[in-house]
Amino acid sequence: MPKILRSKEMKKCLGCFTCMLVCASFNQKNHSLIKSAIRVRTTGGMSSNFVAIVCLGCSKPACMEVCPSNALVLRDGGGVLLKADKCIGCRQCEEACIVNAVNFDEETQTPIICHHCGICTRYCPHDCLQLIDV
């Protein structure tokens, strides 16, 4: 069954950033937060709530629509997959995403696209993230 990432329990978020660390480590072979697809931030300082900016796996992805070079293809279950060799780094997908989920990688000049692998859900110590069947 194809799956989609959700962040339904962010009120429990500890701010540990393990989700970002493992996303970057497992998917991009990098220690740095800048390589993570999922991003967690506060809404205004540490005393405010944490929010997770995650790809919602649209069935009609706006990012795919605006891509001029067909570098984003529809993923089974929703969202997109990146064909990096076709990407020209125009950043229109980043602009088009309604929930700001496209993280542009300055180093590779390509977007970091969540492919709903669920590694973040497996390493969240407080069950804030879910991988749901669609």
Partner: protein, 590 residues
């Protein structure tokens, strides 16, 4: 630096606003963290200058494995402590370690005094001294808000920013002013806040956005998974997440090691009302972590404060831990969780060390009661259990309202040397005591520990685990643990994870990130770092065997019974002899 064969040091001169960066291969043998910081501090202190002279450095350093492994979360700050006049060493978690790594610096060495009120902005590609005129004088929570607005990098920071800031106490010369990190964590003790204040440095903002490719992906991932599992699936760390460190209240109380009412007693009859369970049930609203730690030991407690008639309420939230409940609770006879939270809040906003504040106020309360001082000095009638008066006193302390509070702001050792009552000023070598009166372990541990803290060598642990008291054995155990922690504080491991990071685990973890060491080398590093700290203390005029302990430590029974001053002196002498041997050792220092 992670994946590099050098330690990357950023030197900042606040007066000239010039920086220089050095890639120090010679510092690799100090591993990182407190090892690197100690060497840098030793190199840069001016032993003929006073603690707060502009010349004196403030050093920050991250560890060899900071952030990339679970619970290696801390940054160390080392400086010349205005409170004790000698080595200042303090640790904080939150985001600072991660952001320093992301910005690309292993260590910061800050010298000089900024020409006007300033804050430092450090990012991957820039270091600037910025105007802080409008935020000077502001409370801690306000400062964070403004700097977050000003330090917006590339749209929004996305969690890649950390801010260290001081409150009014650090600006007003209180010797135990702290430096707060990202709202809920602190470089609490020994006066880092006032060192920053004396340099006209209100805050340091660090933003990092480097790419850091993993060196040995397979090895690293395997080890990360194992460590993550150990930290979350086993019982080791569970209690830190559950009710948290306040869980210590009941065991300490029951065993008679809980310092109460200026340590007149080792147990508090009201402990049940302010134990971990009580706070959890009445006030706990949230748990948080330092970045890189899945445990979530930060406990946020809230209470509703009625600030005016007509049902006017505000929500006061603070992070609470055992030491704060001891210092602002049992030590002052305050038996109400809301009241303790309100005192913590006052201390937080003004940027004070909670522990030294509580212990100083405990002395002041008894000194007032016994007539060493009068209300002309204290301005309010300090009485054990009266939280509202303590709240006002905290304000007077932070602002130095009169000469008494200015003196008290230099610590209980200083204040009692002027007003009397030295026998019940509960400090150890100038640093106010921690919340453990468990036996010779905790007492001697604090006396000989590098920063006079229970965390230097965990003496209070030995008081619990030792079957029978053996003076020589305990001295050896304290010394060995002190060296061991010098090594783990170079990683920098949060001490809560000390059972997880055994020697083999440390070796495996370091190996997976390209740091190949042997078990013997880890031991050597511990000793090398401790020796460096002893050199700093010696240069600053500190003598271990000269430590005098306030009489009350020998008048109130500890968890292990009444302590004997002669035994304490003997242990300190024996320990000092070991330190002298280490200092005299010929080793491979450059």
């Amino acid at each position: 630096m992670l994946n590099e064969k050098f330690i990357r040091v950023l030197y900042i001169d606040l007066e000239t606003e010039k920086i220089r960066i050095e890639q120090r291969e010679d510092l690799l043998k100090y591993l990182g963290g407190v090892g690197v910081a100690s060497k840098l501090l030793l190199e840069n202190i001016k032993s003929d200058c006073k603690p707060m002279d502009a010349e004196q450095p403030i050093v920050f350093a991250i560890g060899a494995g900071t952030y990339v492994f679970p619970v290696l979360t801390k940054t160390v700050a080392m400086f010349v402590s205005p409170l004790t006049g000698e080595l200042g060493e303090s640790y904080a978690g939150a985001r600072m370690g991660m952001t320093m790594l992301m910005a690309g610096y292993d260590a910061l060495v800050i010298t000089g005094k900024a020409k006007k009120h300033s804050y430092l902005s450090i990012s991957t590609n820039n270091v600037t001294v910025k105007d802080a005129r409008a935020i000077w004088g502001l409370n801690v929570s306000e400062v964070g808000q403004y700097i977050r607005e000003k330090e917006r990098h590339a749209g929004h920071a996305d969690g890649k920013r950390s801010i260290v800031y001081i409150g009014p106490s650090g600006e007003n010369g209180v010797s135990f002013a702290c430096a707060t990190v990202d709202t809920y964590r602190h470089f609490g003790r020994m006066g880092l806040g006032v060192c920053m204040g004396s340099k006209n440095l209100k805050a340091i903002s660090i933003y990092g956005n480097r790419s850091i490719p993993i060196l040995n992906h397979k090895k690293y991932i395997k080890l990360y998974q194992e460590l993550y599992k150990k930290c979350t699936a086993t019982e080791y760390m569970a209690k830190y997440h559950d009710a948290g460190t306040p869980e210590n209240i009941m065991p300490l109380n029951k065993s008679g090691g809980l310092p109460t009412r200026n340590m007149r007693s080792g147990s508090f009859e009201e402990a049940g009302r302010i134990c971990g369970e009580s706070f959890a049930q009445k006030n706990l609203v949230r748990k948080m972590s330092c970045t890189g730690c899945p445990v979530g030991c930060i406990h946020i407690g809230m209470y509703r404060r009625e600030f005016d008639k007509g049902h006017e309420y505000e929500a006061i939230s603070v992070s609470y831990d055992y030491e704060l409940i001891f210092a602002l609770g049992t030590f002052l006879g305050v038996a109400n969780t809301d009241a303790i939270i309100s005192l913590i809040h006052e201390v937080e906003e003004l940027g004070l060390d909670a522990m030294s504040t509580g212990v100083c106020l405990g002395w002041a309360t008894e000194a007032l009661e016994k007539g060493y001082i009068t209300e002309a000095e204290t301005l309010v009638k300090l009485r054990f259990g009266k939280a509202e008066e303590y709240r006002k006193a905290i304000e007077y302390l932070a602002t130095g309202t009169n000469s008494f509070y200015q003196a008290l702001g230099k610590g209980s050792r200083h204040a009692s040397s002027i007003y009397g009552g030295e026998d019940f000023a509960m400090h150890v070598a100038g640093n106010e005591m921690a919340g453990y009166h468990t036996g010779y372990g905790s007492l001697i541990g604090a006396a000989v520990g590098a920063r006079h803290s229970h965390l230097d060598n965990g003496g209070y642990s030995f008081d619990q685990s030792m079957e029978e008291f053996d003076e020589d054995k305990l001295v050896d155990m304290i010394f060995a643990e002190e060296c061991e922690r010098c090594m783990t504080n170079s990683l920098i491991m949060c001490l809560f994870a000390r059972k997880i990071y055994d020697r083999q685990t440390i070796l495996d973890a370091l190996d997976s990130i390209g740091f190949e060491l042997t078990n013997e080398e880890l031991t050597e590093i511990g000793r090398r770092v401790y020796k460096t700290k002893l050199q700093i203390k010696k240069a600053l005029g500190f003598q271990q065997k000269g430590v005098k302990l306030p009489k009350r430590f020998f008048e109130t029974p500890s968890m292990n019974g009444m302590l004997d001053e002669a035994v304490a002196k003997s242990m300190i002498r024996k320990y000092a002899a070991k330190s002298d041997l280490l200092l005299a050792e010929n080793s491979d220092e450059s």
